[in-house]
């Protein structure tokens, strides 16, 4: 330090008093090193928190869309298609002509250049009257004026040149016109859906002002071409009696058809092979003044329907089990979400693939929303007055929009966590297929269409539940022991007993978890009621012993030296415990007799009684077992801190109280405990923190099911157990991975806040003792 090396200005320091250069250097450098090391350790600790938060932040950001070069086509373009990478899009105009243009500059041609033009070969008198493209499947369907349809398959062959540059080449296979609808009536609309059980083609025609739908199942076999004659398809009729048909939606599973009428009624038909059954009819906006449906779209997975009204109301309807009037539970459509109001009448709903997002065009804006949590991912002005078609790419990384001016506008999407929002993690959500909104954690399933459920609420609930049972058991024992050890126990015994309790803190939690799950759970299962009786008998037994001893004459009382009470109590408590254990069968047969469902006989079994009378389940790995075993982890912590606080109460206070004639219990209860109360509370809080974060015990001793039940006889899944079980399998950077990080952040924050409070309490206690 500089003070040490300062020389007095007047008298020169003799050489023998001068500090050697090495010492000075060592001092400076070690000082720097220690400062640097200390600061970096502290920084590392804080960096850890920052890192965790950084991993979580992307969850709460919206979608980032970046505009790519638009490709200008003719304004007559009605629909479009594109290849997987969006390099060579095409449009289809009203005559069925496909025009391919290059989107990027390739080695062969400039961007925007026409690469290929194709027109359907039509018989004389035939005209294209309806068309529809399926860009993701490379499919174009054309409906003709005579009721026949042409399917065009567009595929891309990729040619590589020497430099590795890729040039996609379109390849078009047109299946000749096949008669589908009624002859000589023009097709007004066509659909073609590649379902898992076969290809379904549908056309809409009109006869005498009445709409009707005709469908056919196509086989993948090539069609025999017979001299320009359109081979007739084996067609069947769907919903031939619908007045005012306005819109038809065909799910990609090709197993049903949803028909929307002009007055806002939605009719659902199931199509099983060629059998058509009417399933249900519903009106989404029945309560609105204008019940017409302005736009509708099926969300990926085909079980949810988003509908918009002309006044901008948006709702989501989904199919889920509903109890019918006859008591049967059937899968029917019902409303699951009321969404935020749109800026104007819906002009189109375009779903994404691979997730539950969709784009709505309404009131001059394009908005991407997530159906599950209703979060707005992206909002931008619509580029033109009329949007003809919007398609998301298969990986949800590109959005292509065809507007009425013939421009194909494209955006690249960066939205890694479309299913994440505040609501996802902490809100009550009505998931697809569920009968009511719920807090659910279900992170993965086999199916692609699966709606991931990342609600942290059941995990928080499980955490609090486990902690509650642990503390319920641990706090009384720890505090009683702390009071006894600090105030009454003989000092020489205290020297042995304190370390013994501390040993308890060191027991690895994996050991406790193993014993809880494999050893204790079966024992508790077999002897549940006797154990409950035993535990219940302990406190009365101890109090009885105390009262009995107090009422004994003084000479006998004197034999029990102060600080030795516990030794005399042990045999009595053991005896009472044994008695309680033995009386359990009697109690069970008196109070807990139930009729066995299987045999019809009356049996006395508490577990069965619980199942039948509480309406809750009974698991052998339940909260009571977890609570008891977590006690091993929590008791020593609470005990040590509370004991310290109690023993450090200044002697003057205790002596004063005793001198004034208070008994030792009165002193403890009215002087020592109130003085040390902040230390005791701090101990409880730190115990709480430990129980919240306990992992292995919970993983091993509960069933790990994320249920939200207060039932003491079933398990739970805690935040920490959830991380331990699922993080090793989570894909890096995926929403699931980040959701688990969010869980870890919650744990961190929870324990950190609690511990800080505890620390502040303890500091206050120290101040108080200083004053005294």
């Amino acid at each position: 330090m500089s003070e040490n090396t300062k020389h007095p200005p007047d008298a020169p320091t003799p050489a023998r008093f001068q500090v050697s250069r090495f010492t000075l250097l060592a001092d400076t450098w070690m000082g720097r090193l220690i400062r640097f090391g200390g600061v970096s350790v502290v920084a590392a600790v804080i960096g850890m928190l920052i890192f965790l938060v950084c991993q979580v932040l992307p969850l709460f950001s919206g979608a980032k869309l970046e505009s790519l070069t638009p490709v200008t086509f003719e304004s007559t373009a009605q629909a479009f298609g594109e290849d997987e990478y969006g390099e060579l899009p095409f449009t289809c105009d009203a005559t069925g002509t496909l025009i391919f243009r290059r989107a990027y500059s390739g080695s062969a041609s400039a961007p925007g250049a026409v690469v290929k033009t194709w027109s359907p070969a039509l018989a004389p008198g035939q005209k294209v009257t309806a068309l529809r493209t399926y860009p993701r499947d490379g499919l174009v369907v054309l409906g003709l004026s005579d009721g026949s349809v042409i399917e065009v398959k567009v595929s891309y062959k990729i040619a590589f040149d020497e430099k590795g540059g890729r040039t996609p080449q379109p390849q078009i296979i047109a299946i000749p016109a096949q008669q589908l609808g009624k002859n000589l009536l023009p097709c007004l609309d066509v659909w073609s859906v590649k379902g898992p059980n076969g290809h379904l083609v549908i056309c809409r025609q009109q006869e005498a002002g009445r709409d009707f739908l005709t469908a056919a199942r196509l086989t993948e076999k090539p069609v025999q071409v017979v001299q320009g004659l359109a081979p007739a398809l084996k067609s069947f009729s769907i919903a031939s009696d619908i007045p005012d048909l306005e819109r038809v939606l065909v799910p990609s599973t090709a197993d049903s058809v949803i028909v929307i009428r002009k007055d806002g009624e939605v009719r659902v038909y199931t199509v099983d092979e060629e059998e058509v059954t009417f399933l249900q009819s519903f009106r989404p906006f029945a309560s609105q003044p204008d019940s017409r449906i302005a736009a509708a779209g099926l969300i990926f997975g085909n079980v949810s329907l988003v509908v918009n009204s002309y006044s901008g109301v948006e709702e989501v309807w989904s199919i889920y089990p509903q109890v019918q009037s006859n008591g049967q539970s059937l899968r029917r459509w019902g409303k699951i979400h009321d969404c935020e109001a749109l800026a104007g009448a819906g002009k189109g709903i375009f779903p994404a693939v691979g997730n539950k997002c969709y784009l709505t065009v309404a009131g001059g804006r394009m908005q991407i929303r997530n159906m599950t949590n209703g979060s707005l991912r992206w909002d931008a002005p619509a580029p033109a007055s009329e949007i003809r078609q919007v398609v998301f790419s298969r990986n949800y990384d590109r959005l292509t929009v065809l507007s009425s001016d013939g421009v194909l506008r494209r955006w690249s999407i960066e939205d890694h966590h479309p299913e994440a929002s505040w609501n996802t993690f902490f809100g009550k959500i009505w998931y697809e297929g569920a009968s009511a909104p719920a807090y659910t954690w279900q992170s993965s399933s086999g199916a692609d269409e699966f709606e991931a459920k990342y609600s942290l609420v059941p995990l928080l609930y499980g955490t609090i539940k486990g902690t509650f049972y642990a503390l319920l058991f641990a706090i009384p024992i720890a505090l009683l022991a702390a009071i006894y050890v600090s105030q009454f126990l003989r000092p020489e015994l205290k020297k042995i007993i304190k370390p013994t309790m501390e040993i308890m803190a060191s027991l690895p939690s994996v050991v406790l978890g193993f014993l809880a799950g494999l050893w204790l759970a079966p024992i508790v299962d077999a002897n549940l009621l006797p154990l409950i009786c035993l535990v219940a008998a302990l406190a009365p037994a101890a109090l009885t012993a105390g009262f009995a001893w107090s009422s004994l004459p003084q000479p006998i009382r004197r034999k029990v030296g102060p600080g030795w009470e516990f030794a005399y109590l042990i045999p009595f408590v053991v005896f009472c415990g044994w008695l309680a254990w033995q009386s359990a069968p009697l109690i069970e047969s008196t109070f807990f007799s139930v009729k066995d469902v299987a045999s019809g006989q009356t049996i006395s079994d508490f577990r069965e009684w619980w199942r039948q009378n509480s309406g809750w389940s009974y698991d052998s790995r339940n909260s009571l077992v977890v609570g008891f075993v977590m006690g091993f982890a929590v008791i020593p912590i609470v005990f040590t801190i509370a004991e310290d606080a109690l023993s450090n109460v200044p002697d003057a206070l205790v002596s004063g109280s005793l001198a004034l004639g208070a008994s030792r219990w009165q002193t403890v209860w009215s002087v020592v405990v109130p003085t040390a109360i902040s230390g005791i509370v701090s101990g409880i809080m730190i115990g709480f923190g430990r129980a919240v974060g306990e992992t292995m015990i919970v993983v091993m001793a509960t069933g790990n099911t994320p249920v939200m039940e207060a039932n003491p006889f079933n398990g739970m899944r805690t935040l920490s157990a959830n991380i331990a079980v699922e993080l090793p399998e989570a894909a890096v950077g995926h929403t699931h991975y980040r959701a688990l990080f969010l869980g870890a952040c919650c744990l961190f924050a929870l324990t950190f806040v609690i511990n800080t409070f505890a620390e502040i309490l303890r500091q206050r206690l120290r101040e108080r003792y200083k004053v005294v």
Partner: protein, 542 residues
């Protein structure tokens, strides 16, 4: 009570004093009960009890060691009925190693002297009635009590041969394989870059021929004991032939002196501590897990001690006292209360994926490119485990060191400064030696916590079966990137992931015992040192 009192009734509130002592009783019972349970179950794994032949009323005959007795789940609590579980072994014949038998159905229980227990390399143990055995030279000897010594020697010979085989297969062939793999990566790289490959190819050919030679050598060793076998009969009278090469140990459970039992106990204990696991970890030893735990703990303490001590010295001696310091101190203290799994999450996210991933990109890009994108440090391993636990135990060391530093009386410090020592000299020569026991306590506590922790390790690199040790004789000797086995994870894996939970049970108890002994000893050490320290600086606040 200090003044004369003529009132002979008990002081007020005495029953409550008795009531508080209940807390102590329950707490002590819990500790004692748990330790007793683990000690009893852990040690009884190594003890060989007599093995009965049990005849049941339905005509079934069992021969096996009793494993458990429990109340039948279907019996009412008022009239409990019991059932017993026997380890009958011979899984290839019996299908399952463990059989439950209703106690009410047992008609007869014999303990014939010639019953023999055999521990085997696979399919569980065997309990049989021996008839004869064939020794390694091919001579058949009828089994008598007197020839048991010869049989034991045959078993020992078989063990020797197994060890010899093990040396060839695991160590020599393993080294050749490792070399082969790295050479193949070299070859792929050379091919990719268009460099000459002839030299590498000859090297590979040389390695392949070495590999084949070693395999031939192993076959020859195997030949030496191919004839030896034991012919026996099982409980149901079926003939069993047990090749000597599969037998680990033989004993006569019903015809042993107490001394024999004790020596069998120690022989099993030795195997448990120093041998490798077999049968999906349910039998054999725990050496890799013990070794892994030790190596990890040592690395962890090597990392945590200097950083913890430096941080504590900085906080106590250098940092300016103020609000910031107090906040930092609270933060550090609180970090000790942050759940261990959070550190695991951080370890996985930061150390493994960010740090490990970048190390792989920077230094092992060749390895990634030519070895099917197999990460080196970008996956869990010893280094990341030690670092994660070091971070987790850092607050323990910091807090202990700070307390020890603050316990050094002010006078000593000032005396040193007054005598002309520089600040660093005071720290080095006065403060650190004086607080060494405190620091040691912190480090031991950190080690105990690290050794017993499992949750974070599950995320950052512990596996249930590692083919190699993290430290061995293959360059570079210390394999920081390797995954390793750990006692705590062993308990979790065996107890909860094992397909045959009955067979795993004894092993889990034994492992539990070992882990508890390890952790409790470390803690007792720390407590002892702390108590001594307290006595030394009595009056200083802790």
């Amino acid at each position: 009570m200090t003044q004369p009192n003529n009132d002979t009734s008990a002081p007020k509130g005495e029953p409550w004093v008795w009531f508080t002592s209940l807390g102590l009783i329950v707490g002590l019972t819990m500790v004692a009960g748990l330790l007793a349970l683990v000690l009893y179950n852990g040690f009884s794994v190594f003890w060989a009890p007599p093995v009965p032949i049990v005849k049941l009323s339905d005509g079934t005959v069992l021969m096996g060691q009793m494993a458990q007795r429990r109340v039948r789940p279907d019996s009412p609590a008022s009239q409990p009925k019991y059932e017993r579980q026997y380890q009958v072994g011979l899984r290839e014949l019996n299908g399952a190693s463990y059989v439950w038998a209703d106690e009410a159905k047992i008609v007869q229980e014999d303990f014939p002297a010639q019953t023999m227990g055999l521990e085997r390399m696979e399919n569980g143990p065997a309990f049989v009635t021996p008839i004869a055995f064939v020794n390694s030279k091919g001579q058949r000897v009828l089994f008598k009590k007197e020839s048991f010594g010869d049989l034991t020697r045959e078993v020992e010979y078989a063990t020797e041969i197994r060890e010899e085989l093990n040396t060839i297969q695991r160590q020599k062939i393993g080294a050749v394989n490792a070399k082969m793999e790295s050479t193949r990566i070299d070859l792929r790289r050379a091919e990719d870059r268009g460099e000459p490959t002839a030299e590498i190819k000859t090297e590979i050919a040389a390695l392949e021929s070495e590999f084949n030679q070693l395999r031939e050598q192993a076959e020859k060793v195997k030949e030496k004991d191919a004839l030896a076998k034991i012919e026996a009969r099982d409980a149901r009278g079926r003939d069993v032939v047990l090749p000597m090469a599969t037998i680990v140990r033989a004993w006569l459970p019903n015809d042993m002196s107490a001394w024999d039992r004790v020596s069998l106990f120690f022989s099993r204990l030795r195997e448990f501590l120093f041998d490798e696991p077999r049968e999906a970890n349910t039998e054999g030893g725990l050496m890799p897990a013990i070794f892994g735990t030790l190596v990890m703990t040592v690395f962890m303490s090597l990392m945590v001690t200097p950083f913890g001590v430096i941080a504590a010295i900085y906080l106590r001696e250098y940092a300016k006292d103020g609000v910031v310091l107090r906040m930092v101190r609270i933060c550090v203290n609180n970090l000790a209360g942050v759940p261990s799994i959070v550190f695991g999450v951080f370890g996985l996210g930061f150390f493994v994926y960010v740090l490990g991933g970048s190390i792989d990109q920077l230094f092992f890009s060749d390895q990634l490119k030519y070895n099917n994108n197999t990460p080196v440090f970008g996956t869990g391993g010893l280094l990341w485990c030690s670092l994660t636990l070091a971070l987790m135990t850092l607050p323990v060391v910091i807090v202990a060191t700070e307390e020890a530093l603050s316990a050094v009386p002010r006078g000593i410090r000032e005396a040193s400064l007054a005598a002309g020592a520089s600040k660093w000299q005071t720290i080095r020569d006065i403060l650190l030696p004086a607080s060494a026991p405190g620091i040691l306590t912190g480090v031991i506590l950190a080690m105990a916590r690290g050794a017993g922790e499992v949750a974070p390790l599950m995320l950052v690199g512990v596996v249930k079966l590692a083919p190699t040790l993290p430290v061995d004789m293959v360059e570079p000797f210390l394999h920081f990137d390797r995954k390793f086995m750990h006692l705590g994870f062993h308990i979790y894996d065996l107890g909860f992931q094992s397909p045959d939970s009955d067979a795993a049970r004894p092993m889990v108890f034994a492992t539990t015992l070992l882990l508890i002994i390890l952790v409790v000893c470390l803690n007792l050490g720390a407590i002892t040192i702390r108590n001594r320290l307290r006595a030394r600086y009595k009056g200083a606040s802790f």
